[in-house]
């Protein structure tokens, strides 16, 4: 018997031989009966005209006809916009510079693609392009940071005050309002400030205060003091010292009857506020008081 022979039989498609064989089987009579009775089956009543009336009166009268003139064009328009947006944002995101920012009283370390290292002091920001790093080692800096540069191509730090370029060394750049200091701890650093190039050998500093290049003493140690949680100053006006204090502790410093242009030489701790305040006030012969997040420095003989 061929496949699906019952269906063939019902449709009268069996060959004479097959039909004869099927008639021999016990089930034949049952199938004849089934064919006969199932032929008398009926489905429920369905009034075509009534249903059509209902359709026309109740449904189609209210249903708006949708006639789309060219649905594919519309699809293409939407697709094109999406493609443009996607590729655009891809390139935009890709070309964006990497940026690392520290808040007040915060420090951060980052590793550059060539394993050069940057340690960011409080309230500072560096940005660089990760994609173009191999062509151009360029870092933009606001604030203060210590650089340990891996040997390689020219490495440039751009700031508002000038640029610092090196080939591979360790140096610190502090770039604050009215204050620009570069200290070289190892190797040779070239500082370009107002079209004037200065070569800094290891163990020297370059300082610009309010636009004037200052003579500075040789820095101590092999890395900036703030790496060891201390802020070190050598003949720096008190106003800058106060600003650094604000950055390290996220506080507000005010002064009353204090000459903030007085030069301060010394160190304050970046972890113990009371110690830091004493370190500043004692040598300057002033006193202070703390009110919440505010510190007021005032002359000793005024109340």
């Amino acid at each position: 018997m061929q496949e699906n022979y019952l269906a063939k039989w019902l449709n009268g498609e069996l060959s004479e031989d097959e039909l004869a064989e099927f008639k021999q089987s016990d089930a034949y009579a049952s199938f004849i009966k089934l064919k006969e009775v199932s032929g008398t089956l009926v489905a429920p009543e369905f009034d075509v005209d009534k249903s059509l009336m209902e359709l026309q009166n109740e449904r189609i009268g209210n249903a708006p006809k949708v006639i789309t003139l060219n649905p594919f064009k519309k699809f293409l328009r939407v697709a094109a916009v999406i493609v443009v947006l996607l590729t655009g944002s891809y390139f935009f995101v890709n070309s964006m510079d990497q940026t690392v920012t520290t808040q007040l009283a915060e420090r951060s370390e980052l590793l550059l693609p060539d394993s050069s290292k940057i340690i960011l002091n409080a309230d500072s920001k560096v940005s660089y392009s990760e994609k173009k790093w191999n062509e151009k080692r360029n870092v933009k800096l606001k604030g203060e940071a210590f650089f340990k540069v891996a040997k390689g191509k020219k490495f440039t730090v751009s700031t508002d005050h000038g640029t610092v370029s090196v080939l591979g060394t360790q140096f610190n750049v502090e770039n604050r309002e009215g204050f620009f200091e570069v200290t070289c701890y190892e190797g040779l650093v070239s500082v370009s400030h107002k079209n004037l190039d200065t070569k800094l050998p290891a163990g020297t500093s370059f300082l610009v205060l309010e636009g004037e290049v200052m003579e500075v003493s040789k820095p101590k140690g092999i890395q900036p003091s703030w790496i060891n949680n201390e802020s070190n100053f050598a003949s720096i006006p008190l106003s800058y010292v106060f600003k650094e204090l604000e950055r390290q502790y996220d506080i507000k410093v005010n002064s009353k009857d204090v000459d903030t242009s007085l030069l301060f030489t010394g160190t304050f701790s970046n972890t113990d506020l009371n110690m830091a305040l004493k370190s500043i006030s004692t040598p300057s012969r002033i006193t202070y008081k703390i009110e919440g997040n505010n510190v007021l420095f005032y002359a000793k003989n005024t109340p």
Partner: protein, 165 residues
């Protein structure tokens, strides 16, 4: 280009196909009311999209929409079909024969209800609506061979259940 949006053409499509769409849904789910709604639904959709549907595609479009409308909704419901008509009262047959006929029809109804939905639909479209296998294949959107298979299996299981095998 001719399309289904012409009222006359639309009405003629309705007249030739609505009954079968109704039966088709009824065989599938065994619910008269839902079958009725499915007809309305399918033709409203056809009307709304009349510009997009070519007349020769209208038929399969209707079955597809009707089927999709209830596919998920009533799959879970237990089918309770009733097809067999009571035999005419005034016939010349003996009471024994009439009783036997009645019993047979009850068994057939029960066996139909127990068939898988696609076998039942195929079987009844052929037996009640007189649809050829090729037409059923078009309605169901499957090949001719699949319909023959369903038909074969339907006959086989119906006979087995009725004969108590």
């Amino acid at each position: 280009m001719k399309n289904v949006c012409e009222e006359q053409l639309f009405s003629s499509i309705f007249k030739t196909n609505s009954k079968t769409v109704f039966n088709y849904i009824y065989y599938k789910f065994g619910n008269e009311e839902k079958a009725h709604d499915a007809v309305q639904e399918a033709f409203v959709k056809l009307w709304e999209n009349c510009a997009k549907v070519l007349p020769e595609k209208a038929k399969s479009y209707l079955y597809t929409v009707a089927n999709n409308t209830y596919l998920n909704v009533i799959k879970a419901e237990k089918v309770r079909l009733k097809y067999a008509q009571p035999t005419l009262e005034h016939s010349n047959e003996s009471p024994e024969f009439l009783l036997e006929e009645k019993e047979y029809k009850e068994k057939l109804d029960k066996a139909l209800n127990n068939l898988p939905e696609n076998q039942r639909t195929t079987f009844l479209l052929n037996r009640i609506d007189g649809k050829k296998y090729a037409e059923i294949a078009e309605i169901e959107g499957v090949g001719l061979k699949a319909i023959e298979k369903r038909m074969h299996l339907a006959l086989k299981s119906l006979r087995e259940e009725i004969d108590g095998i």
